[in-house]
C-alpha cells in the first residue's frame, strides 16, 4: 500500500516538471531522476523486506507452544448478521401466441389462485422472472432459520419461511414453518437451481408453477449405516394445489418419503427416492366444457388426491472432481389418483342443478434429463417430458362434461455458460406439445445472477 502511494506520488512529481521544461534539458533531468527513483526504490524495498521479515517472525507460532487456543474468530456485530443472497433472473422468450396456456387433459392449478397473478414464465418477449431474496442464519446452537421471498412487480410471495433443528442427534432433523416439501427430487429446489429454464411438465401438472410447499412440520431421520438411508414424514395445512384451503383442524396434507444413495467407486454417485403425498380438496375449481349447456362450466372438485413419486439421480465426475467435467442424469415418474365428486355451476356461479358427478382419475407422467458439463464454464443438456392424462371417470356424467384424453410431451435442449458459480447465461430450445393441437417451438435466453453469500446446494 505504502509502496503504491509512493509510486503514484513519484509519477505525479515526475509528470509536473516534464511538461514545463524545454525538451533540451529533459533528457539529463530524466536520467538524474531515474537514478534517484532507482535509489529510493531500492531503499524502500529493503525496508519493506525487513518489515515483512519481522512481521513473519512475529506471526510464527513458537516452537512447541501449547497454544491450543483458537487464533481466528470473526468479530464485530456484523458477524451475527444473517447470510443474505439475492438472485436476479430474467429472460427473453419466443413462444406461439396461445390464449390460455394449460396442459391438455390435466386440471389446471392456476384457476385456484384467487388473485390469478401472472407469472413471468408465461410472458413472451423480454420479461423479468422472480427475484429471490434469501435470508438464513443459525438462530442459536439449536436452530437455524431461513426465509425466501420471491419478488415480482407489486407482489411479494413468501416462498419459504422455516426453522430447522441443528443436530438434534441420532440422525433426526425437524423442520417447521413453510417449506418446499421433501417429496421427489426437484421439489426442494428453487428455480435458480434448475438445469433448464422451466420445471418439467410433470411438476407443472402436479403442483403448478411452484414446487409443492407445506405449511407444517417435517421430520427426517438418517439411518446410522454406511449406505445413505433417509426417511421423512410431513404434516401440513395442504392449502396448495392439488389440495385446497379447507378451514379445518388437523393435517390436510401428509407426505412420506424415503431415499437411499451411495457412491460407485470414486467417480459415480447416485440417489433414489420414493415419495407419497396425500391432500384433500374442497371446491377446487376448473373450467370445463359441458355438452349440456354447450358452454363453459365451472367444475368444483371435492375429494382427495394421492400422488406417488419415484426419483433417481446419478452423477458422474472423473475421479470425483466435478470442476472440469461432470455429468448428471435425473429422472422422475409420478402416478396420481384423484377420487371425489364434482359440482357444476355456470360461469356466474349458479348451480346447474344436475347434482354431483362422481370423479375419479388415474394420471401419470415422467421426465428424463441429462446435463453434461464439458469445460469449467460450459454445460449442455437434453430433457424429455411426457404425461398421460389417463383415465378420467365421471360416472353417469349428468352435466355431460367433456374430458380430454391426451399425451402431452415436450423435448428441450439447453446450453449454458457460467463465468463463475454466481453467474449463468442459458439458451434453451424446446418443442412443446403439451397443449392439444399446438406445436410450440420455443426459444429462451435466460440469465441467473446471484449476489451475496450464496448457500451451498444439496446433491
Amino acid at each position: 500500500m505504502q509502496k503504491k502511494m509512493l509510486w503514484v506520488a513519484l509519477a505525479w512529481a515526475f509528470a509536473q516538471p516534464a511538461t514545463a521544461t524545454p525538451s533540451g534539458d529533459v533528457n539529463t533531468q530524466l536520467a538524474e531522476m531515474q537514478a534517484q527513483i532507482a535509489q529510493m526504490k531500492a531503499a524502500y524495498e529493503a525496508r519493506i523486506a525487513a518489515l515483512e521479515g519481522k512481521l513473519a517472525e512475529a506471526a510464527k507460532p513458537g516452537p512447541g507452544a501449547a497454544a491450543v487456543v483458537p487464533t481466528n474468530a470473526r468479530s464485530g456485530a456484523a458477524a451475527f448478521n444473517p447470510e443474505v443472497s439475492l438472485i436476479l433472473q430474467g429472460a427473453y422468450k419466443e413462444r406461439k401466441k396461445v390464449a390460455e396456456r394449460q396442459i391438455s387433459g390435466f386440471w389446471s392449478p392456476g384457476h385456484d389462485h384467487a388473485d390469478d397473478h401472472d407469472h413471468g414464465h408465461d410472458k413472451r418477449g423480454f420479461s423479468l422472472d422472480h427475484t429471490e431474496l434469501v435470508f438464513s442464519a443459525n438462530i442459536d446452537d439449536t436452530f437455524r432459520g431461513q426465509a425466501t421471498l420471491a419478488l415480482l412487480d407489486d407482489q411479494v410471495e413468501l416462498e419459504e419461511a422455516w426453522f430447522q433443528t441443528l443436530g438434534l442427534g441420532h440422525g433426526v432433523g425437524l423442520k417447521a414453518g413453510r417449506f418446499f416439501s421433501g417429496i421427489g427430487y426437484l421439489n426442494e429446489q428453487h428455480p435458480h437451481q434448475w438445469d433448464f429454464y422451466d420445471q418439467p411438465l410433470m411438476y407443472k401438472a402436479l403442483f403448478g408453477e411452484h414446487s409443492y410447499a407445506q405449511d407444517g412440520v417435517q421430520a427426517k431421520w438418517v439411518a446410522p449405516t454406511d449406505l445413505f438411508v433417509e426417511l421423512g414424514a410431513e404434516f401440513g395445512r395442504g392449502q396448495n394445489f392439488p389440495g385446497t384451503e379447507r378451514n379445518s383442524n388437523g393435517a390436510n396434507s401428509r407426505a412420506l418419503f424415503a431415499r437411499v444413495g451411495d457412491d460407485w467407486g470414486t467417480s459415480h454417485s447416485w440417489r433414489a427416492g420414493l415419495s407419497y403425498l396425500r391432500t384433500e380438496a374442497r371446491d377446487r375449481q376448473a373450467h370445463m366444457e359441458s355438452g349440456l349447456t354447450g358452454d363453459h362450466v365451472v367444475a368444483g372438485f371435492d375429494g382427495r388426491s394421492r400422488v406417488w413419486l419415484a426419483d433417481f439421480v446419478y452423477k458422474w465426475a472423473p475421479e470425483g472432481n466435478p470442476k472440469y467435467r461432470n455429468f448428471k442424469f435425473q429422472a422422475e415418474y409420478f402416478r396420481r389418483r384423484e377420487d371425489g365428486r364434482l359440482s357444476t355451476a355456470d360461469e356466474d356461479g349458479v348451480d346447474l342443478g344436475v347434482g354431483n358427478t362422481p370423479y375419479a382419475s388415474r394420471q401419470s407422467g415422467f421426465y428424463l434429463q441429462g446435463v453434461y458439463q464439458f469445460t469449467p464454464n460450459w454445460r449442455a443438456g437434453l430433457r424429455y417430458d411426457r404425461l398421460n392424462s389417463g383415465r378420467q371417470d365421471l360416472g353417469n356424467n349428468p352435466a355431460d362434461l367433456e374430458t380430454v384424453d391426451y399425451r402431452p410431451r415436450r423435448s428441450s435442449v439447453m446450453v449454458d455458460y457460467s463465468w463463475s458459480e454466481y453467474s449463468r447465461l442459458r439458451l434453451q430450445l424446446a418443442r412443446d406439445r403439451s397443449m392439444q393441437g399446438v406445436t410450440d417451438n420455443q426459444v429462451t435466453l435466460q440469465y441467473i445472477m446471484s449476489l451475496g453469500s450464496h448457500g451451498a446446494h444439496k446433491f
Partner: protein, 297 residues
C-alpha cells in the same frame, strides 16, 4: 513397564471395542487422525487428493458418514463452505456440530496468511478469513495435532493415554523431520516460481521461495489463453524457474506455460495421496521437497 502394559491393554480394548469414527474433510487431516488415533480410530476421508476441495458435492454417501461420525476434522476458513454446512445439517448428528468437542476446525488454531482487506466477488473465489491451504507449512501441523489429540481424548476419554503417547511420538518425529526438510530445502530459498492456483503460498513462505503469481487470473477462475500468453511474456523481465500445480488441478494451463517458457512443470502432491510417494504426512513433505529439488537440477 506398567504404563506400557496399560497402553497395550488400551490398544487391545480399542481394537476389540467400537472404534472412534473420525470424518476428515481432506486427506491431510485424515492422515493426522491416523497418526494420533492409531488403531483406536476409524478414519473416513470425504475427499481424496485428486479432488478440488473447494468443489465437492454433499453426496448421499458423505451425509451417511457424517451421520455416524464422532469427530469431524475440517480445515475451515471457508475451504469447505460449498458442502460441509449441508453435511452438518443433513446428518442430524449432534456430536459434530460447531461448538461441540466433535467439531474441529483446524484453521482456528494456526495463523492464516493473505487475509484480504477487502472482499468482493469481482476478485474471484476469495477466502475472507485468509488462505486455507496452510497445511503446506509443516510448522502448522503440530498445533493441529495437539488440538486433535485433545479432542480425541474428549470424545473417547478411555483412549486419552494412547492419544497423548501417540501425540508425543508424532511431535518428536515431526520435529526431527522438520529440521531435515529445512536443511534439504535450503537450496530453494529465493527461487522464483509460478503456481496454478494460490495453493502453495504457505510452502513458499516456509521455504523462502518467491511466488511470482498464479496462472488463474483470479482464484477459482480458469485462465484464458491470452492471460497465459501475458504470463509467458513476463518471463523476459521476471523469469520463473518452474510452474507448480497440485495433483487435482488441470494439467493444460500449466503445461502450456511451461512449454513456452521452457521451464519444468512440477506436479506436487499437495496433500496425502497426491502422488504414490505421499503416503502419509511425512511422505507428503519428503516428496514435495524431492520434486522441487529435482526440478532445479
Amino acid at each position: 513397564m506398567r504404563k506400557f502394559l496399560l497402553c497395550c491393554l488400551f490398544l487391545l480394548s480399542g481394537s476389540a471395542l467400537a472404534q472412534v469414527h473420525v470424518l476428515a474433510t481432506v486427506p491431510e487431516w485424515g492422515a493426522l487422525a491416523r497418526e494420533i488415533g492409531g488403531a483406536r480410530v476409524q478414519v473416513f476421508e470425504a475427499t481424496h487428493a485428486r479432488q478440488d476441495p473447494h468443489r465437492i458435492e454433499a453426496r448421499p454417501s458423505l451425509i451417511a458418514r457424517a451421520r455416524s461420525a464422532q469427530l469431524l476434522v475440517a480445515t475451515g476458513a471457508d475451504l469447505e463452505i460449498g458442502w460441509l454446512p449441508i453435511l452438518l445439517r443433513e446428518s442430524g448428528n449432534r456430536h459434530i456440530q460447531p461448538g461441540q468437542p466433535g467439531y474441529l476446525e483446524a484453521a482456528r488454531y494456526v495463523q492464516l496468511r493473505d487475509v484480504p482487506q477487502v472482499v468482493d466477488r469481482s476478485m474471484g473465489d476469495v477466502h475472507p478469513d485468509g488462505d486455507p491451504h496452510f497445511h503446506l507449512d509443516p510448522r502448522n501441523i503440530p498445533p493441529v495435532a495437539q488440538v486433535l489429540a485433545e479432542r480425541l481424548a474428549q470424545v473417547d476419554p478411555q483412549g486419552a493415554p494412547v492419544y497423548r503417547a501417540n501425540l508425543a511420538g508424532f511431535l518428536s518425529r515431526w520435529d526431527a523431520a522438520l529440521k531435515r526438510w529445512e536443511r534439504e530445502g535450503g537450496g530453494l530459498r529465493g527461487i522464483p516460481v509460478l503456481q496454478m492456483h494460490r495453493s502453495f503460498s504457505y510452502l513458499f513462505h516456509w521455504l523462502g521461495m518467491k511466488g511470482l503469481g498464479e496462472l488463474e487470473p483470479k482464484p477459482g477462475i480458469e485462465p484464458s489463453s491470452g492471460h497465459l500468453a501475458r504470463i509467458v511474456q513476463r518471463q523476459a523481465s521476471e523469469p520463473a524457474r518452474m510452474v507448480l500445480r497440485a495433483a487435482y488441478q488441470s494439467d493444460s494451463a500449466g503445461r502450456w506455460v511451461a512449454e513456452r517458457a521452457g521451464i519444468p512443470l512440477v506436479v506436487l502432491p499437495y496433500t496425502v495421496g497426491g502422488t504414490a510417494e505421499a503416503r502419509d504426512l511425512f511422505g507428503l513433505f519428503d516428496d514435495t521437497l524431492a520434486r522441487l529439488r529435482g526440478a532445479l537440477q
